[in-house]
């Protein structure tokens, strides 16, 4: 989307709040299990159901994962941070206050790098903190059911600076955060299951305006594409509202509110106005003392961080010679990067491999809505296919047919497909190709004349004809050589 054309001289200002559930074994403040998909109210405790007399005790693994994340984004880790009570009434909130970190969060600042429209961009993060998740409300026609399995699950809330200006900025940023969380194994980052959630704040202003206009908060986008759609829709809605009401005070045109993204309607729907911002009445949590970390604890965690997406991307570019956008594509999805590196164990043509992993196979799997690593096509299968192409055993079109069959019957190897189908057998025998070359030359005299008068396209045409005659199984190199030889002989006559 070319923003210059569509947004005119309006500048969208976008900020993202990401909530990720940390994949600890037990919950943040109690020892009931942190597990998705269980029968309602089977992963609960007196703490997570707020029984009278219950008290919170902090999970050390949740703290560790938060510190790992903070270090991964180059943020400042507050060695002393505190918890606060945030009060609001809702059935999924067992205590009717959440325990969060408002005044003194554990993580301050930081940034991530992402590729947007082929360009590397750095996005700043304001802060990140630990808090406990609410339970779940399930809506039925005449009533609602409350399930506290999720109540108390540890969350990390990551707040970006309002530094994004396009929907693609936002999704690239979100993908970069997701990649980091997956790399350090801090979260399952499963948007369908809700272990990764986005809230986005959108406002617009005239280019050159300082200060921000009122923003709209949008919730309920459970995929990157929905995120982009919702933001895009909201930007246009706001611009339209301002342009249709040029004489009204901007503060009245767009008033702070929360909207829900409705994917079926393709529009944002008002949830509630923030007339008076919910008075959450934050104050320090008296049941928990400050969280105090030692510098050596933080340093130890820094030493044991795995290779992060940005480092991996740079390595792919420098050592494997991949293009920047390709390297980012692979590195941003940990499972794909792992898959790629598994292929590299038996295949050395990284660039060719990359094309198959980024373009060829995904194109074929789009219908099934699967990623390569979600199928029974193993890294060694893809590696083998690439090796066959690289060696010259199969070429171009044949390779594509083989790939089609690999996708249709995941698990079958390229070599077994080629072995079964004589049409796929590579034809490298010069003596078998020669007669076909002769035939083609005989049937295409005018092309031969064109070649002799210097037309390269005619030569390519002749190559194509020979390939057609061999049903694509001939080695293009051999065909090239033979044609050159024979045309030269004709010229000599």
């Amino acid at each position: 989307m070319n923003t210059k054309i569509h947004h005119g001289d309006w500048e969208p200002i976008i900020g993202l709040e990401i909530h990720a559930e940390l994949n600890t074994k037990s919950k943040l403040f109690s020892s009931d299990a942190n597990r998705f998909g269980a029968e309602p109210n089977t992963n609960i405790s007196e703490v997570s159901t707020a029984q009278p007399g219950s008290l919170p005790v902090l999970n050390k693994e949740a703290v560790k994962k938060a510190v790992q994340f903070g270090l991964s984004i180059g943020a400042h880790i507050n060695l002393v941070s505190q918890f606060d009570r945030k009060s609001y009434f809702y059935p999924d909130n067992p205590r009717n206050f959440q325990i969060t970190q408002y005044e003194t969060p554990i993580i301050i600042g930081g940034s991530v790098v992402a590729v947007v429209d082929g360009q590397e961009k750095e996005f700043q993060i304001t802060r990140a903190h630990i808090e406990d998740d609410s339970g779940m409300l399930k809506h039925f026609t005449n009533f609602a059911g409350v399930d506290y399995n999720r109540a108390g699950v540890p969350l990390i809330e990551i707040v970006s600076e309002p530094c994004m200006h396009t929907p693609k900025d936002a999704s690239a940023y979100a993908m970069a955060i997701k990649a980091i969380l997956e790399y350090i194994d801090a979260s399952d980052c499963n948007m369908e299951e809700g272990s990764l959630r986005f809230d986005v704040n959108v406002s617009v202003r005239k280019k050159g305006e300082t200060g921000f206009r009122n923003k709209i908060e949008i919730k309920n986008m459970n995929s990157f594409s929905n995120l982009e759609l919702a933001i895009s829709h909201e930007i246009f809605r706001q611009i339209k509202a301002y342009e249709e009401n040029p004489n009204v005070d901007p503060k009245e045109v767009i008033t702070q509110a929360t909207h829900r993204w409705d994917p079926d309607k393709g529009e944002t729907v008002l949830m509630r106005k923030k007339e008076y911002a919910d008075d959450y009445r934050y104050f320090p949590e008296p049941d928990l003392l400050p969280l105090v970390l030692s510098q050596s604890y933080v340093d130890d965690i820094r030493k044991t961080l795995p290779e992060l997406p940005l480092q991996k991307e740079k390595r792919y570019v420098e050592s494997l010679g991949l293009a920047v956008h390709q390297a980012f594509f692979l590195a941003s999805d940990k499972k794909l990067a792992d898959y790629f590196e598994a292929c590299l164990e038996t295949c050395s043509n990284a660039k060719l491999l990359t094309n198959w992993l980024i373009v060829e196979f995904p194109g074929r799997l789009k219908e099934k809505n699967l990623s390569l690593y979600q199928t029974a096509i193993l890294p060694e299968h893809v590696a083998e296919l690439v090796n066959l192409i690289d060696k010259g055993d199969i070429h171009g079109k044949i390779a594509k047919c083989v790939a089609d069959e690999m996708v249709a019957a995941p698990g079958t190897t390229a070599s077994s497909i080629v072995a079964k189908n004589p049409d796929y057998q590579p034809l490298n025998d010069k003596s078998a190709i020669e007669p076909l070359v002769d035939t083609v030359l005989a049937e295409n005299q005018d092309s031969v004349d064109s070649v002799l008068s210097g037309r390269d396209r005619a030569f390519a045409y002749l190559v194509g004809q020979v390939m057609k005659a061999t049903k694509g199984t001939a080695s293009p190199q051999v065909v090239n050589e033979l044609l050159k030889e024979k045309i030269a002989k004709i010229a000599a006559k």
């Binding site: 009434f89 205590r95 409350v146 009445r281």
Partner: protein
């Protein structure tokens, strides 16, 4: 007469075989049957549970199996402290039939030492009050004067020991709710250092102020209970990381040379008979070899407003969970979700609780938080500093427990006037200090008076030692009220 025994003596007689646990339980329950209708200390009695435990203890002893430190001792538990499987109402309608799914750590500890739990006692609703009159269920009477309140909020537990329905009981103290009823009922009562006894299983009122505290017929009974309950608990993040203290031998050491700080300035407004009693108590301490020094605790005049801002702020959030959704009362009139919240809490909470929730909500609300909540936090810091300064010149501090002896039921209607009953006790909760209320005498009309001994943080044994020594000379605890039938 078993009911005249201290808890220590009951245990001794049980261990020696002189008394069986069943005899003990039966004796106390007979007394309860006779006098409880006049006193109304209990909300529920667990006779069957107690008899079963007594039976088991007798069998254990017969089989020469090891027995706990509290074996054979009946204990009453305030109704805001969880006993697994028993109802915890906190004297509120909103928890009318609520059964606790787990026991408080303190309860687990005493049961592990073979104490016999006999019932749950009446209190002010959610521990908010100084007379037990704010209970949604009944008014407890002072065994010394049935027209008077036993004090509060732990009035039921105090009355139970005063009436000798049991030799020890548990209460909770947030602004004086163990020490004040202890003094008004003429028994020993102790609030430990903040964090010394686990708050796990104590229904929260003011989280940074609450402590479970024992009542006993004498200071030695307090010491026994503290040895069992005063230790680190991993389920309470504010629990002091320290194992149990040794009390029983330590407290019997003499206190000669101990410096007693007295904030005479702060006690200027004390009524004549209370002042006379306090001065006599100071003479007793001097006769034990203590030295009196004057200390400055003038900031304590701000302790009440500070407390009422901080405690209500914390309480407004601690009581938010009572909403008719997960447990307890749900209003029958509620049709929508909003009504479930609004009607349940309207019906379920009493007037004092509502007052404090609204006040607490106010002092935290945006626009007012700095002026009220933050300012109170700062004054709290100053009060703590002033105590520390005082302790640099003395070992423990002495004051009366209350400005007045027990008052007639219904005689104090003004909430503010009721709050003023806690003027001498509240400072300790703000500073996390241990405090013992030990009987120091009687007024002319035979109402008990109490002496408060205050220690620095973790000075629990020190304070108990001073109180024990005081009690050996000024043995007012031996008096048992004559309850008119």
């Amino acid at each position: 007469m078993i009911h005249t025994y201290s808890a220590n003596l009951v245990h001794e007689h049980f261990m020696s075989g002189k008394l069986s646990a069943q005899e003990i339980v039966t004796s106390y329950f007979d007394r309860i049957k006779r006098y409880e209708p006049k006193v109304d200390a209990f909300l529920s009695l667990s006779f069957d549970r107690a008899v079963a435990k007594a039976k088991a203890l007798d069998e254990k002893r017969a089989a020469k199996q090891p027995l706990g430190k509290l074996a054979g001792i009946p204990v009453a538990i305030k109704d805001n402290i969880n006993v697994q499987g028993e109802i915890s109402t906190c004297s509120s309608k909103i928890l009318e039939n609520y059964k606790a799914p787990f026991s408080a750590t303190a309860v687990n500890l005493i049961e592990a030492e073979d104490a016999i739990i006999i019932g749950k006692t009446n209190c002010d609703e959610f521990a908010m009050g100084s007379s037990t009159e704010h209970s949604a269920y009944k008014r407890t009477k002072n065994p010394w004067n049935l027209a008077c309140t036993p004090g509060g909020s732990s009035g039921g537990s105090a009355a139970a020991v005063a009436a000798r329905f049991c030799p020890v009981s548990l209460g909770s103290d947030t602004g004086g709710s163990v020490r004040q009823p202890g003094a008004l009922c003429g028994i020993a009562a102790f609030k430990p250092t903040y964090g010394r006894i686990s708050r796990y299983g104590l229904v929260a009122y003011g989280s940074s102020l609450d402590q479970i505290g024992p009542f006993g017929t004498c200071v030695e009974d307090i010491a026994l209970m503290m040895e069992v309950m005063g230790r680190h608990c991993p389920k309470d993040s504010t629990s002091v990381p320290k194992g149990p203290d040794e009390y029983m031998h330590s407290i019997k050491q003499p206190i000669k040379g101990m410096k007693i700080g007295v904030p005479w300035q702060f006690l200027q407004a004390l009524r004549a008979d209370a002042m006379k009693n306090f001065q006599e108590a100071m003479k007793t301490l001097e006769s034990l070899g203590c030295q009196l020094v004057e200390v400055d605790l003038s900031l304590l005049k701000y302790s009440l407003p500070t407390y009422y801002i901080l405690a209500t702020a914390e309480a407004s959030t601690n009581l938010a969970r009572y909403d008719g959704i997960r447990y307890g009362l749900r209003s029958q009139q509620a049709k929508t979700l909003d009504e479930v919240y609004d009607f349940t809490r309207e019906e379920g909470f009493g007037a004092e609780v509502k007052r404090r929730i609204l006040l607490g909500t106010f002092v935290l609300s945006s626009g007012y938080k700095d002026a009220y909540y933050k300012q109170a936090q700062k004054v709290r810091a100053l009060i703590i500093q002033q105590y520390e300064k005082a302790f640099s010149t003395c070992d423990i501090i002495a004051t009366p427990v209350t400005p007045n002896p027990c008052f007639e039921l219904g005689s104090i209607q003004d909430p503010l006037q009721m709050y003023l009953e806690d003027i001498y006790t509240i400072g300790l909760n703000l500073a996390g200090l241990p405090g013992m209320s030990v009987p120091s005498g009687f007024t002319q009309d035979n109402k008990p008076l109490g002496l408060q001994l205050i220690g620095p943080q973790l000075g629990d044994v020190l304070v108990t030692k001073a109180a024990y020594n005081f009690q050996q000379t000024a043995a007012f605890h031996n008096a048992i009220p004559d309850i008119k039938e």
